[in-house]
């Protein structure tokens, strides 16, 4: 003991040996095997959790994709913007006949139809 510099930068081998022996739990192999086993099961458990989450997740994603696809299809193919005037207008009848605020006179209607012919 005497002659040891307490600030010695080298480990004290004798003291270290006593401490190691004192604190040694022994059977490191069994301990390591137990932890290794837990690592494997931990990994399995993680995959199980992911799998459990994946099924409903995929189903939800598929539903959203189908819904989105339908919405996009409808948005890309809009209904024709037909007006009431277009619907009731006879083929070839000029829009001016029906566009006025006042009801057209019978002469103007017949005239317009005759012009188209």
């Amino acid at each position: 003991m005497i002659g040891h510099d307490p600030f010695d930068a080298q480990p004290d081998a004798a003291l270290g040996r006593l401490l190691r022996e004192h604190l040694d739990a022994g059977d490191d192999g069994a301990f390591v095997a137990r932890v290794r086993g837990m690592l494997a099961s931990e990994r399995d458990t993680s995959w199980d959790v992911l799998t459990r989450w994946a099924r409903p997740g995929l189903a939800a994603a598929a539903s959203i994709a189908v819904g989105l696809g339908l919405w996009l299809a409808l948005a890309g193919n809009p209904e024709p913007s037909a007006t009431l005037a277009d619907a009731i207008r006879p083929a070839g009848a000029p829009a001016t006949v029906l566009a006025g605020a006042q009801a057209p006179s019978s002469e103007s209607v017949i005239g317009a139809l005759m012009v188209d012919r």
Binding site: R17, L19, L23, D24, A25, R34, V35
Partner: protein
Amino acid sequence: MTVVTDAELAAEAASGNPDAFGRLVERHAPAARRVARLFLQDGDDADDAVQDGMLSAWRAIDRFDTGRPFRPWLLRIVLNSARDLRRRRVVRRTEQLPDSQASRTPGPEHETDRRLLRARLDAALATLPERQRVAVTLFDAEGYPHAEIAALLGVPEGTVRSDVFHARRALRKELAPFLEEVR
């Protein structure tokens, strides 16, 4: 044969290889168990803490920076587990105290008995502040450099040197006959 470094094993483990992490456990478990015993003063509790710490490290391995040393990173996680466990089991430890107190006064006729050495060491370690216990054990028993211990404990390197000095002085005084035997 090429020795695979901790960093290489940690990188493999981070890619999901439990066997690589198992090899790291194999390398560092003995020291981790000893240090955990310092904290918990109970072998079973120490093993529980090390096991919890190892599993936490495995879950966090993808966040480990392989540019830094693995050993202090792992040991810090283990020490945190030991502290958590000690907080949870503080009542149990208090109940165990009378046994260790009783073992401090064995008769002189058993001077060479291993049990006396154990009792002396228990008593000597119990008189040390926790940081000194850990510092001297990591330095003298595990061969950690001062800088690594400082990083692990979150204190300046000079503090670690001072802790090792005071702890050594106390332990050498208490264990003088045993140390003479093993030198």
